[in-house]
Structure formats: structure tokens, C-alpha cells
């Protein structure tokens, strides 16, 4: 019935080690996607000092985008990726002008609340439209099997794409003019303004970019597991942890933070009941916040 694998010729001890290694590799693969998700959050945070609490809703929108693009329009799953980036960007700019523009520069509480309110509206609409039934996008992609453990093709593909997109982001930020403008505004908005940079447009561009990243990470996640309208919350929390690990405003750090989180999950899971892992994650989160406010990967800032 299920795919049968031949029993391994190794001793139980070696099998255990293989299990741990498999777990770690799996963790790293998923971690790359966590990192991609967090990159959107950290970019927005770094550039305009706004914690985007619609992050979870954006991830969900990316997931639904995959569903509708593949079932409605018949696109191949990975073909939907560039479409989601584009759609996410446009949507992000829209949200910027609706909810964020007026609260830039005000206290943190204001932007937290306005983005949270936007989140409530989006999730509420999503629930009314799609209910909270799970949706599934089957992606037939054979995986790689090693010593009895399988690394699914979708996991590998998702990690590869996450790295590719991260690379593209790097190119955008460091090799284009708009990227330079973004970095300038992130550094010092007033100076940038004085230098003739249209900062408001740059901010809206950056926000759109952040949302696009969140959306495409949702698309990638949707190739891995089924999702519901409420799935975004868990990834949003993970994104917070990753952002803090990587240091806010530091996209490279976010990617590394994501991989680190995946690694931690992979390493701890074989040794303890899986339900203890969230405790470890959140305690780690609080400790890193207190002890390394700049993030553990702060040295990676270029």
C-alpha cells in the first residue's frame, strides 16, 4: 500500500545517527523557507521601523494564490511563483497606502495596531470567502531517499527557490538604484529626502517588496503542506523568532536565522517529544531578544 522500502542493512545504532542527520537536513530545508518568510518582515522593519502584523495574512494570501492559480488558471505550481511575487508586490503597495502611510513615524503602538487591524480585516474577509476549510495543492515531485529517509522533492525545490529569491533580493538591494535608495532611506530618511530621493515612494516600494516576499514564501509553503485561512499565524510567530535571531533589518541574517531555526527544530526533535519544541523556540526567542537585541547574526550585516 504505502511505498515499501527495503529494511536497512545497518545496525540500530547507525540508524539512529542517520535519523538525526535526516532530521537536521529536513530542518534546514524547511528553515530556508522560514528564512524567506522572515526576510519580508525584517526588510519592512528595517526600512521603516514598522512591524508588519499583516505578515501572517500575506503568507496566507500567497498560499491561496497558489491554489487559485493552479486550479483556476491551470498554471504549473512553480510557475505561480513569479506571479505571486508580482501580485504580492502590488498588494503590498496598496496596504502601505491604506494602513501604513499615516502611521509612519508615529509610535510603535500605532503601526502595530494599524497593521494588526488590517490583518483582522484580511483574515475576516478570507474566512467569509473561503471559510476555514483546508486547501491542498498536490505537487507531484519525487524526492531523494537515503538510508530509508526520504527528502521530498517539494522540500528540496522550496529550499532551492527560497535561496534563489534571496539571491535576487540581494542583487536588487545592492546592485540596483532602487536598492540603493531603499538602503539610503533605511539608514536615514531625512538625509535621503534631502538628497532628492522620493522617500515615500521608496517606502511604499519597500513595503510592497516585503509583502511580495511574505506572499511567495506562502506559495512555497503551500507546495509542502495543506493550509487554511488561519495557517498564517504560526508562520508569523516563526518569522518573529527568525527576525530576532537574524537581527532586524538584516535580510541575510533572516535567511541564516531561518536555517538556524530549522536546524534547532531538526536537532531537538529526535531527542524529545515534539510538543516540547515550541517551548524551546519561545524561550530561545525571549533570551535572544534580551541578550542579543541586534541578532545573533549581526556580524553578517554588510
Amino acid at each position: 500500500m504505502e511505498g515499501c522500502s527495503p529494511s536497512p542493512p545497518f545496525s540500530a545504532g547507525a540508524f539512529q545517527v542517520a535519523g538525526i542527520i535526516a532530521s537536521i537536513i529536513d530542518g534546514v530545508l524547511v528553515g530556508a523557507v522560514y528564512g524567506l518568510a522572515a526576510m519580508g518582515l525584517t526588510l519592512i522593519w528595517g526600512v521603516m521601523n514598522v512591524i508588519n502584523l499583516t505578515h501572517g495574512a500575506m503568507i496566507v494570501l500567497g498560499m491561496f494564490a497558489l491554489y487559485f492559480l493552479t486550479t483556476g488558471l491551470g498554471l504549473p505550481p512553480y510557475g505561480a511563483v513569479p506571479v505571486t511575487i508580482g501580485l504580492g508586490f502590488v498588494f503590498g503597495v496598496l496596504v502601505y497606502w491604506i494602513a501604513v502611510h499615516r502611521v509612519i513615524g508615529r509610535t510603535h503602538l500605532m503601526s502595530l495596531l494599524s497593521t494588526f487591524a488590517m490583518n483582522m480585516v484580511l483574515i475576516g474577509l478570507g474566512t467569509a470567502l473561503f471559510s476555514t476549510s483546508p486547501y491542498n495543492v498536490p505537487v507531484p515531485l519525487s524526492g531523494v531517499t537515503w538510508k530509508g529517509y526520504t527528502f521530498t522533492g517539494t522540500h528540496i525545490m522550496a529550499a532551492v527557490l527560497a535561496l534563489v529569491i534571496a539571491g535576487l533580493l540581494y542583487l536588487l538591494l545592492y546592485r540596483t538604484r532602487i536598492g540603493k535608495a531603499i538602503r539610503a532611506v533605511a539608514d536615514n530618511r531625512d538625509a535621503a529626502e534631502l538628497n532628492g530621493i522620493p522617500t515615500t515612494q521608496v517606502l511604499s516600494f519597500a513595503f510592497g517588496l516585503g509583502v511580495a516576499l511574505a506572499g511567495v514564501s506562502g506559495t512555497l509553503i503551500a507546495t509542502l503542506f495543506p493550509f487554511t485561512v488561519l495557517s498564517g499565524g504560526a508562520y508569523e510567530l516563526k518569522s518573529f523568532i527568525v527576525t530576532v535571531l537574524g537581527g532586524l533589518g538584516n535580510p541575510a541574517g533572516a535567511l541564516m536565522g531561518g536555517v538556524a531555526l530549522g536546524l534547532i527544530e531538526g536537532v531537538t526533535t529526535p531527542f524529545m517529544p515534539v510538543s516540547w519544541v515550541p517551548i524551546i523556540e519561545f524561550v530561545l526567542f525571549v533570551f535572544v531578544l534580551i541578550l542579543f537585541p541586534r541578532g545573533i547574526f549581526a556580524f553578517a550585516r554588510s
Binding site: 504505502e2 476555514t132 476549510s133 483546508p134 491542498n136 524526492g143 522540500h155 510538543s275
Partner: protein, 406 residues
């Protein structure tokens, strides 16, 4: 200008609020029987809760349209429902049942869906002394807290995996079992009993792990299953996690020969998993193929046909449970000849009947009042027939429609 904006906004907000607050609640009509309950229209339990609600509604519509209502004490009572969205949340269940009893003056109650929510609703119904038919709820703890007015339609949690364990004992007494289940009241209750039953049957347990309800990535846990060299997996939870687990087990080629998951595979949506669904079995309270001879009400086939005609999909056991709750209550009121709580409770306590759902008998032991003692569960499995993926009943042998796949 800022001041003007503030003022204008506040005025609008105030007007809206006052308008909402003064909207009048619904008033129940005379010669009508009001039954109250909550549905999870939003939230994780939406999928199965809606199925349950459809069962209720089908019963009500057939009752009112075909028979003109419930006949009791020489009068005919049309049945009205009062229902609200509980958002799959305990806090709302609590609030809404209090409202249903005190404001909407419901005379009888149906439960929400899922053991956790039902436990909360049960406290309210006991606090105010109203009869509640519980369906969609298998956990026994709720009935052991000293209630007087609860009546459980489903078989309780400890029976869920009993059938699978029995079947395994026959198929392969040397099976290595991995228990992987959701960390929530229902699944934990089921698995606690299953562990004991496996021990008694002499089967080996090699892994026992609960996963958080938020889990979406079962990769780590599946790797553990592979490391433990299990050939059987029992567990799961509700729909979202069960479906994901099934899909990932398939993707990871976990090498299992038998997989039984709770709840999820019973939903018709499970078929969308395609190849991943084949061979997965589910303990079921009821399947359309069962052939009990009912003392009253439709047969399983008739119910299935009527449900399909109205809703366009085949009913699962959640819908059947909902319909049966209505049937049982109707029968009890008719037998009691009145709407009086004490009289109806008396009939329910003495009841021992068979409906399309199976045999129904409630425990009258005060330590576990209302627990369902007559009903038995079946095991269903997804198999490939004529190129289609369909659900067949495989256990107990007396009720099966197809052979087991192992």
C-alpha cells in the same frame, strides 16, 4: 483637519454602536419547540461542524415538512433552531449557550462539535439544568463530572481504536505500532485507551508521541517513526492535521503497512489526496453502507439518499450523528408525551433503541451519566475500486463491505 476628523469619526462610531446595540433579539413563536446549539462556522472545526449541522437541519426540515412537527401530549410542535457561530472557541461556546438558555429560551440543546467545546457547553447546560444531546463528542471525561442532563450519541473515545487493534491482532500479532496523535482532549483520550488495548492484545509499541495542534510539518515526527522501524501507525486528530499527516507519510515513503487516522479520512474531502489516501483507515461512528434495522426513522440507505439529494455530497458520520441526535430527541419527547425536562430525561434514561446509526443506550450510573453504552464503531478504509478511490467498511466482520488492505 485633525480635530474635525476625530470628531467626525467618533460621531460615526457612536451612531453605529448605538444602532447595533438597540437591535432587538429574535422572539420565538408559540407552539414551537426551540432547540439551541452552536456551530463552528469559522475556525478549525468548520469542516466537520458544518456536516453535523446539516444533519440537524435535514432532520428538522423532514420533521416539519413531512410530519408537521413533534407530536407530544396531544399537540404538534414545529421545531425551531437557534444557532450561533462559536468560532471553534471555548469562550464563545460558554457565552452563547448561556444566551441560548436565558435569552432565546431554548427548551432543549444540541452540543457543538468536538469534545473540547462540548465539555464547555456541558457545564453551562448543567448549571441551568437543561437536557443536552451531545453529538460530535467522544471524550468520556465530560460525563464523569456528576451531570444529570447529558446524553451522548457517539461511541466514546476509548472505543475508537479498539476495532483497529482487534484487526491488527488478527493480521499481524508481531506488528510494531507507532502512536502519533494530536495533543488535544479527544485524541489524547482515544490514544490513552488504545495504548492499554494494544498492551492487552500483546502488540508492541515502539513510539508514542503527541504533536501540537499547530503542527504543519510532520517531517520530523515521520523520521522518528522510520527510526523506530514501525510498521503500523495509529493516531491523528481532526481533519487538517490528519490530512497533512497522511499526505506526508506518503511523500516520505515511511514504509508503513497499516495507517489508521482519526476523523480526517472520514471526510469526503480526503479523497483529494489521491494515491496518498489508499489504504488509510478511519474509525467511524457510521458509514453509508451499514445495514442496521431501525426501530424508527429512515434506514442508512434512505438517509444517505435524502442527504445527497439535499446537499449534493455523501454524508459522513458527523452528519449522521447530527441527524440521529434529532431523531432520538424526537422519539423521547413523543414517548414522554410532553416537553417537561424531567419526563423527557426519564424516557432517555430508559431508552434502548436502534436507529440507522446503530444501537443507542445511555448509561444511568451517576458517575458517568449519559455515556453511550450501546453503540459500536466500524472501521472504514480507502481503497481503489474500478479506478476510483472509495471508502469501504472493513471491520467488524459482520458489517464489512470489503476486505482489508494490509
Amino acid at each position: 483637519m485633525r480635530i474635525k476628523e476625530d470628531a467626525m469619526t467618533m460621531r460615526l462610531v457612536l451612531i453605529a454602536a448605538v444602532a447595533l446595540l438597540t437591535s432587538a433579539p429574535a422572539v420565538a413563536a408559540d407552539d414551537a419547540l426551540t432547540i439551541g446549539f452552536t456551530v463552528s462556522r469559522t475556525g478549525k472545526l468548520n469542516n466537520d461542524s458544518t456536516a453535523q449541522m446539516r444533519g440537524f437541519e435535514l432532520w428538522r426540515d423532514e420533521l416539519n415538512n413531512r410530519e408537521g412537527g413533534i407530536q407530544a401530549g396531544g399537540k404538534r410542535y414545529k421545531v425551531n433552531f437557534v444557532s450561533y457561530d462559536d468560532e471553534s472557541a471555548n469562550a464563545r461556546v460558554q457565552q452563547l449557550y448561556t444566551r441560548i438558555i436565558n435569552q432565546d429560551k431554548a427548551q432543549f440543546l444540541f452540543s457543538p462539535y468536538s469534545s473540547g467545546l462540548v465539555a464547555t457547553a456541558a457545564i453551562v447546560s448543567e448549571q441551568y439544568g437543561r437536557i443536552m444531546l451531545t453529538t460530535g463528542a467522544a471524550e468520556e471525561k465530560t460525563y464523569k463530572l456528576g451531570n444529570k442532563n447529558l446524553f451522548q450519541v457517539y461511541s466514546s473515545a476509548d472505543l475508537y481504536l479498539a476495532g483497529a487493534i482487534q484487526a491488527l491482532k488478527e493480521l499481524n500479532p508481531g506488528a510494531q505500532i507507532a502512536f502519533v496523535y494530536k495533543d488535544d482532549p479527544f485524541s489524547k483520550a482515544v490514544l490513552q485507551s488504545a495504548r492499554k488495548q494494544a498492551e492487552q492484545a500483546g502488540l508492541n509499541t515502539v513510539l508514542d508521541e503527541a504533536y501540537s495542534p499547530e503542527t504543519t510539518d510532520f517531517g520530523p515526527i515521520i523520521n522518528k517513526v522510520i527510526s523506530a522501524k514501525a510498521d503500523v501507525l495509529l493516531g491523528g486528530g481532526h481533519y487538517p492535521d490528519g490530512a497533512t499527516l497522511a499526505r506526508q507519510l506518503y511523500d516520505h515513503k515511511a514504509g508503513l503497512r497499516w495507517v489508521t487516522l482519526l476523523v480526517a479520512p472520514d471526510s469526503p474531502n480526503f479523497a483529494t489526496l489521491g494515491e496518498a489516501a489508499i489504504g488509510v483507515s478511519v474509525p467511524s461512528q457510521w458509514e453509508p453502507q451499514v445495514s442496521f434495522k431501525p426501530d424508527f426513522g429512515p434506514t442508512a440507505a434512505e438517509f444517505t439518499q435524502r442527504f445527497q439529494a439535499k446537499y449534493g455530497i455523501e454524508p459522513g458520520y458527523h452528519a449522521a450523528g447530527g441527524y440521529t441526535a434529532g431523531l432520538i430527541l424526537q422519539h423521547a419527547i413523543e414517548q414522554a408525551g410532553s416537553l417537561d425536562q424531567a419526563k423527557v430525561a426519564g424516557v432517555l434514561n430508559n431508552m434502548g433503541v436502534t436507529t440507522m446509526f446503530g444501537r443507542t443506550k445511555f448509561s444511568t450510573n451517576p458517575k458517568e451519566h449519559g455515556l453511550q453504552t450501546g453503540h459500536e464503531m466500524v472501521l472504514a478504509q480507502w481503497q481503489k475500486k474500478n479506478g476510483n478511490v472509495v471508502k469501504e467498511v472493513i471491520w467488524p466482520k459482520s458489517a464489512k463491505s470489503s476486505d482489508m488492505l494490509y
